[in-house]
């Protein structure tokens, strides 16, 4: 840099010296000193321009670019109108890209927060051919086989689900620190009960992940055995919030699920498990009970000196032993049967999100392209007006190179400022959506603005700058070259007559309009399909009356309620209490409620014999009044009665219509017997379908699935304990007309507190909220796509209006003349608008042809709408045409104000 300032000083001296000499010569000819100096300066020319040209001729390219950039920023400040429009366009386009990228980064790209995460995998039971695999859960025997037979993997079992459980901190009778300070004596012995999310994991789980507890230790093998000591590891957040970050927390006794547990460890801050959990207890895997079914997952780390190939072959070997190959039918080769396979952990965490995120990314890319075309159009229009300036520069120094470089630098300046604004916008947008997005996408990382996102945003800004300024820069340099001398004068004369200038690159700009319209149409089709799909799912007949209903969920995963008799008593007494409240019209309890994912179980038709095929159905226990409270009709037979809950009664069950249709195909299931886990149930009635989240099979995200409903009294104790480890039942309450939600909530809490102390209400929701939770992913996707498509539409309309306005401007004189010669205003308007609308129509046709491609891409995400929907296509096309018409007519109305007389005079 010091060299440059030397150079500047020298250049200055050289030029001054030149002018001094010249002035001296003029003085020698008799000119006065002052006049001589003036003449010398005048004859030299613009000193600044010459200095610029000298600098350009000598400085290395890098400084030239920097200087051009500085000029570019200054130029932006001088033209606030243009800059404002351009900035808003860029900020929106780049901001959207940046926001979506931070999503993609958090979900797909950022490495998992575990050491050497690329050596981590999950082992699944896999069924189906490669490429169409279903990655299923693991059962107890498979776990043992993997543990013992696959030396290449260090593995640990875990439960993929978290369960809501009740944590009591502070021993009952022993006041905790904060309670000692309480003045209310009645509170001293009341412990604090909170509902927390618990994950059960095997002893090696944390060490496989590579994260050790920051306090204490993780589970020992002895604790991970059925009947082993009851220990718990806390998450950092729980330790901070519920245990006041007590350093002496190790060895503390708490009550979890109604049983005493000892705290043995605390995980570090920021540690996230495979799901969002607040504390961990030992899994105690077995091959019975839950281990008899596929309810575990296996997390594995490649052993230090092993390879994936070794791991895969060892897995294949143990699979052959565990799952003997199916018999091949005559003449057919048996497809791959069930087997155990490993899948990289990063992939499993993001599996569902990959396709929707990539679709969103492509969408914002399309929006950015549309915006860049608009900006290119703005720059082209500007370039025509800068002809003189450019010609001067080119005449002085170096040819088209520096001009192009300068114009590109101006574009880059605009792009960088736009990118900064876009980054700010995206931060705001992400913050606004963060809660929705985090819950919906289940992210392991928080969404945050980090170096990667900033770097990618800068990259996008630079690429966009090149896109929108390359052609205008090239165009302007060509104009400049032919502006000097004879050619320039001729061209200027032609422009004066008002020929629409191919000379200002408008032809290319018009062609690009076609592309813009096509892209906008495709995006709108995609958004409409997704919105339609969401609308369909939201509008599916739920099979009950949701108005006025509240659902209070309580975890019964508790040692105090470990038999079906105890649970049955709790349900009876709490309902009896609830019904005495004025706020409650009717109440019932169900293990799962509509819109939730219920328990799956397998069953047999008793009549088909003990070796017949096992089928799958949902199973829910309910109290007698459940369907009355929900408002679901009993379509055949009878509902459940109180009497059905008596121990002496024959176990009775209800099935829904979907069950009857699926398994009985028209015949009536009434009085048939179903065998579930060795117990026979007699079907006494058929109820209407309730909408659920299916846990199996090929259904929509919410659908009516075959279901069985039984009273809890006849379920075995083991079954009850098992299901409460996965599901928390809900008290469903129909509030009486006059009462508020608060009053009903209060009544529920009191009833439960009275009959089941120590069981806090985990959540209290209306079915509107439950439905929103069930469909939040579809909602998020529809909202994002619609927003982006709307932006694309707006940008295209603005670009179109700009084109029309620009044409009116250019041809102002010609239009004025034609008006003076007798053309009607409407004819003048048509002459300007129709060609552009013609281009729009071409774009529409192109977009309509490509629209079905978008539909096909979205196929896996669409429910209840056809990807090829002609109605959607037609609606989008018509809408786009209407918008284009409006966008074209508004600027064309300026033609009404052209004064023909003035045009003639100016000739």
């Amino acid at each position: 840099m010091a060299r440059r300032s030397d150079y500047e000083a020298e250049l200055d001296a050289e030029i001054r010296h030149h002018m001094e000499l010249h002035a001296e010569d003029l003085e020698a000819e008799g000119v006065s000193p002052a006049e001589a100096r003036r003449q010398a300066r005048q004859r030299f020319g613009t000193v600044d321009a010459v200095k610029e040209a000298c600098r350009e001729a000598t400085e290395p390219a890098f400084y030239a670019v920097l200087r051009d950039l500085r000029h570019g920023f200054a130029r932006l400040r001088r033209r606030p109108g243009f800059t404002a429009v351009a900035l808003v366009t860029l900020a929106v386009c780049i901001g959207a890209n940046s926001a979506i990228f931070s999503l993609v980064d958090a979900v797909l790209l950022r490495p998992l927060p575990y050491p050497e995460a690329d050596r981590l995998a999950r082992v699944h039971t896999v069924a189906g051919p490669r490429g169409d695999t279903y990655w299923g859960a693991i059962d107890g025997r498979s776990w043992e086989v993997v543990r013992d037979g696959v030396a290449a993997l260090e593995s640990a079992p875990f439960s993929d689900w978290t369960t809501g459980v009740n944590l009591v901190t502070g021993d009952i009778g022993e006041p905790t620190a904060e309670q000692s300070d309480a003045t209310d004596a009645a509170q001293v012995t009341t412990p604090r009960v909170t509902h927390v999310q618990q994950q059960r994991v095997g002893a090696g789980f944390f060490s496989v992940l590579g994260v050790e507890p920051t306090l204490g230790r993780s589970f020992l093998a002895a604790e991970d055995r059925p009947g082993g000591p009851a220990v718990v590891v806390l998450s950092h957040a729980l330790w901070r919030d519920d245990f006041a970050a007590d350093q002496d927390v190790l060895g503390r006794r708490v009550t979890l699920r109604g049983e005493p547990y000892t705290v043995v460890g605390v995980m570090p801050e920021g540690f996230r498990s495979t799901t969002d959990a607040e504390l961990w207890t030992p899994l105690r895997p077995s091959t019975q009970g839950e281990g008899g079914g596929a309810n575990y997952g296996i997390i594995a780390r490649l052993a230090p000196d092993a390879s994936w190939r070794q791991a895969r072959s060892q897995l294949a070997a143990v699979s052959a032993g565990r799952f003997p190959a199916p018999e091949a039918a005559d003449g057919e080769t048996a497809g791959p049967g069930r087997r155990l396979a490993a899948r990289p952990l990063q992939e499993t965490m993001a599996a569902d999100m990959r396709q929707p995120l990539l679709i969103l990314w492509m969408t914002v890319g399309g929006v950015l392209l549309i915006g860049c075309v608009n900006l290119a159009g703005l720059l082209l229009a500007q370039g025509a007006g800068r002809r003189g300036e450019i010609a001067t520069r080119m005449a002085i120094g170096g040819g088209p190179g520096p001009i192009v470089r300068q114009l590109l630098a101006e574009g880059l300046a605009l792009g960088l400022v736009g990118g900064a604004a876009g980054l700010a916008l995206s931060v705001l947008a992400v913050r606004a959506l963060e809660d929705h997005v985090l819950a919906t996408l289940g992210l392991t990382h928080e969404l945050r603005l980090d170096a990667r996102v900033v770097a990618v945003t800068i990259l996008i800004s630079v690429v966009a700058s090149l896109l929108f300024s390359a052609y205008p820069a090239w165009r302007a340099s060509r104009l400049g070259r032919s502006s000097g001398g004879e050619a320039g004068r001729l061209r200027a004369a032609l422009a004066a007559v008002g020929r629409t200038a191919g000379g200002s690159g408008q032809a290319v700009r018009r062609a690009l309009l076609v592309a813009q319209v096509a892209v906008a149409v495709v995006l709108l089709v995609g958004a409409s399909l997704l919105a339609g799909s969401f609308g369909h799912l939201r509008g599916v007949d739920p099979g009950f009356q949701p108005e006025g209903l509240l659902a209070a969920t309580v975890s019964l995963d508790d040692a105090n309620y470990d038999t079906s008799a105890k649970v049955d008593r709790l349900l009876r007494t709490s309902l009896a209490q609830l019904e005495t409240s004025g706020a409650v019209e009717a109440a019932a309890v169900g293990l799962s409620v509509p819109y939730e994912r219920p328990l799956n179980t397998s069953f047999r038709l008793a009549a088909a014999g003990p070796d017949s095929e096992l089928r799958t159905t949902n199973l829910t226990y309910v109290t007698a009044g459940y369907f009355d409270v929900l408002g679901t009709p009993v379509v055949a037979g009878r509902g459940l009665r109180e009497a059905d809950g008596q121990p002496a009664a024959t176990p009775a069950a209800l099935v829904n219509r979907a069950f009857a249709d699926t398994f009985f195909e028209g015949a009536s299931p009434l009085d048939r017997t179903l065998t579930v886990n060795g117990r026979d149930w007699r079907v006494v009635g058929i109820v209407g379908n309730l909408i659920q989240r299916p846990g199996f099979g090929d259904y929509e995200p919410v659908a009516a699935v075959p279901a069985m409903y039984v009273p809890v009294a006849h379920l075995s104790d083991e079954m009850v304990a098992l299901v409460h480890g996965w599901f928390s039942p809900s008290w469903v309450v129909r509030t009486s007309g006059a009462s508020t939600r608060e009053a009903a909530a209060q009544a529920i809490r009191e009833a439960l507190r009275g009959t089941a102390p120590g069981l806090p209400v985990a959540s209290l929701r209306t079915f509107g909220e439950i439905r929103r939770g069930a469909l939040r992913f579809q909602w998020l996707l529809a909202v994002l796509m619609t927003g982006l498509a709307a932006i694309a539409l707006l940008l295209t309309a603005v670009g179109l209006a700009g084109l029309v306005g620009g044409t009116v401007q250019e041809r102002q004189r010609a239009l004025g003349i034609s008006l003076a010669l007798g053309a009607t205003r409407s004819r003048a308007v048509r002459s300007v608008v129709l060609p552009i609308l013609g281009l729009t129509a071409v774009g529409l046709a192109l977009g309509a042809a490509l629209g079905p491609l978008a539909g096909r891409l979205l196929r896996g995400l669409l429910w209840g709408v056809s990807p090829d929907s002609l109605v959607t296509l037609a609606a989008v096309t018509a809408g786009m045409l209407a918008v284009a018409l409006a966008a074209a007519l508004v600027p064309a109305l300026r033609i009404a104000h052209i004064d023909p007389a003035r045009s003639l005079r100016a000739e």
Partner: protein, 121 residues
């Protein structure tokens, strides 16, 4: 006669020639070209210094600060060996162009190619 506009390549060539005879500063180059052309060529002052600096960067001429006749500090340019080569090749090119133009301008009817005849029998 009005001085003709000089193309950039021609200006470079003239500058090289001017400093080849004796090291000059910028104003001196201007005067020298004017003088050698007998006032037929007048360099546009604004184009001079960018050209000088460009040629200096390309190492065709070298610059040195010295003292001019009237005792002031001035930057003097002189020809480098590379510049000599360039001067030679530019001069050859100019000669070729000039004689080609001359040939066109000296043409007579007799130099035209035979025209194709209409309607042959």
């Amino acid at each position: 006669m009005k001085p003709a506009d000089l193309l950039q390549g021609t200006l470079d060539m003239l500058i090289l020639k001017a400093v080849s005879l004796r090291p000059l500063h910028g104003y001196g180059v201007l005067l020298r070209i004017q003088q050698l052309s007998r006032n037929a060529l007048e360099v546009q002052q604004g184009s001079l210094y960018p050209a000088l600096h460009r040629l200096a960067k390309a190492k065709l001429i070298s610059a040195e600060w010295g003292v001019s006749d009237n005792g002031r500090r001035a930057k003097f340019y002189s020809l480098t060996p590379a510049g000599e080569h360039r001067l030679e090749s530019e001069r050859d090119r100019w000669r070729r162009t000039a004689s080609a133009v001359d040939r066109v301008m000296a043409a007579t009817v007799g130099d035209l190619p035979p025209e194709p005849r209409g309607e042959e029998a």
